[in-house]
Subunit: 338 residues, 2 copies
């Protein structure tokens, strides 16, 4: 099969790779209906995350189950399924507490920018949709696989809800879907921080009530000015830089909550400002699996449309252009058709 | 009056200072029944916190109201009252959300190692006991003023409760009273981390079920070994060093909660380990005022005895020896009698 492989920073190629097959009796093989490039794929692309060897890329996937191992009991061939970026057993104590992305048996997924994918721990990892979805819903289910689930987790971690003012730092797909999640969770006011007009528009479509274009200390001052000098109740951090984390801490009122989901490379949080900020800090790799049943139903019922974040659609063979477009911020998120 | 003043690191003297008087109409003057030396007083004593000028020391106080300003309506002369280390109006939006130590009008208290103290925002700051307490309860009310309130906040921030395993890092007065708080909040198992026998004994008296003497990575390994490899549900951090914060993060299971109350001087939290730890982090200067009504009732009813942390009692004139004893860890906490 032809699949996307990153060999070095900036170097993504589509090359021939062996078809996956069942290795463990708990595996499933799925035929991908769609896949995409993640903001976190840009970390190795930009050389921030080190690549030890060529890596088959991709960890967002939806598709039809082709085959299952002998011990798979709930997932069946022919089902349309949604997975996420960590395979998880969904039965250990950590999974049962809702942190499937820290499952004691978790497997880091990669290689989903391909026509076929092996999914370990299939019963725990995959969630089937109520039926085979119409084509127009496929991108939304694909979004649930990572960016929607991640934005949703950030909003939950930030305790977005009725009566709350939520600030969203980051206007990538995760930040934009954090806006959607905060709206669905009932937030009263949602301040999207963005200086890019098409992204501002999408934020407003998804339920943002205010747009702030300033960043850093000026961004913090604007959030304070919009909240009686107190700061937001809830802040979604969806970037992962030193500046964005400090902006999140500065924008949150004492006793407020930060949900941070930007992978925090090169971040060092200084103790005293954090201590005196009185914020709640929670985040990490989103346990997307926790939210999949709810998100799948919302999409199936057409209550939400997270697919708008895909503003570029290309055949899988054009994966290199998809990476370039996202790296250069010409695209919010690129969908790839295998 | 004779009061304790720190002029430089290691230099505490008892010297003549003017009696305090009402300045603002919302002030009260109290005659102290007891005061004490705080672990945080050791930061400037050890030169970690910079002293710009000689500082009248002390921020823990209980006593009898002598006089109130014209706008004080609920606190009356003759009442026995408990305050805390930030004066707060208890009416602003931040106070009403339970974060009185970040009150928009907060005043940092100091100068309580003295016979008399001016307390700003008296109605918001002070809580009267149900009556004049017997002498033997005074030290417990004094503990409520800071170390008990701080340990309690840490336990609440760490979400200690039924079914939870709680690890407590730090065997000073705050850590020991964090053990007491976790027990009162219903924790199933409480692991106290201490290598000092008298403190271990007090931890056991207050409800600890296990003692761990290892620190750092070895301490983390011991906590993991005691919790099926997962880590504690709740961790109370009551030290405030880089090592203790990393020990807290390492000892907490994914999805678990850290309540940190050690003032985090010289701490830098690295982004990636924090991100992948999946912990909830919350702490800061304890909003003691939130808990005072409940803590006062528990002490009045003799349901708890936090006074055991005072293992040294001296007249106020011997404040220099009280500082030395705590600095050298000969005493857990020194009570001073004005």
């Amino acid at each position: 099969m032809l699949a996307a492989v990153m060999s070095a920073p900036g170097e993504v190629h589509v090359e021939d790779r062996p078809d996956p097959h069942i290795i463990e009796p708990t595996d499933a093989i799925i035929r991908l209906s769609a896949t995409c490039v993640c903001g976190s794929d840009l970390w190795p692309y930009r050389g921030v995350e080190k690549l030890d060897e060529p890596r088959p890329m991709g960890h967002e996937y939806v598709g039809i189950v082709e085959e299952v191992g002998a011990e798979v009991t709930t997932i069946r061939p022919g089902q349309f399924v949604v997975g996420s970026f960590f395979a998880s057993d969904n039965t250990c104590e950590i999974c049962r507490s809702g942190y499937q992305s820290s499952c004691v048996h978790r497997v880091n997924m990669t290689g989903a920018q391909a026509p076929y994918l092996r999914v370990p721990l299939a019963d725990g990892t995959l969630v089937a949709t109520p039926g085979i979805p119409p084509d127009d819903l496929v991108p939304s289910f694909l979004a649930a696989s990572d960016v929607l689930g991640t934005g949703w987790f950030a909003a939950v971690a930030a305790e977005a809800g009725p009566g709350k003012t939520v600030a969203v730092i980051g206007d990538g797909a995760v930040g934009l879907l954090g806006v959607l999640a905060a709206r669905r969770l009932g937030a009263e006011r949602i301040i999207a921080m963005s200086r890019h007009e098409p992204r501002q528009e999408l934020a407003l479509t998804y339920g943002a009530t205010d747009i702030v274009t300033e960043r850093g200390d000026e961004g913090v001052a604007r959030i304070k000015a919009l909240t009686n000098g107190l700061g937001a109740h809830s802040v979604i951090e969806a970037v992962g830089t030193q500046q964005s984390m400090m902006q999140a801490i500065g924008s949150t009122r004492p006793g407020g909550h930060i949900g941070y989901v930007g992978v925090a490379y090169d971040v060092q949080l200084p103790g005293l400002p954090l201590f005196f900020s009185h914020v709640h800090l929670h985040g990490g790799p989103a346990p997307v699996r926790r939210f999949l049943p709810e998100l799948i139903q919302l999409i199936w019922d057409r209550q939400i449309d997270p697919s708008k974040v895909f503003d570029l659609r290309l055949p899988l063979t054009e994966a290199p252009e998809a990476y370039r477009a996202m790296d250069e911020r010409r695209a919010i998120k690129a969908l790839l058709m295998p």
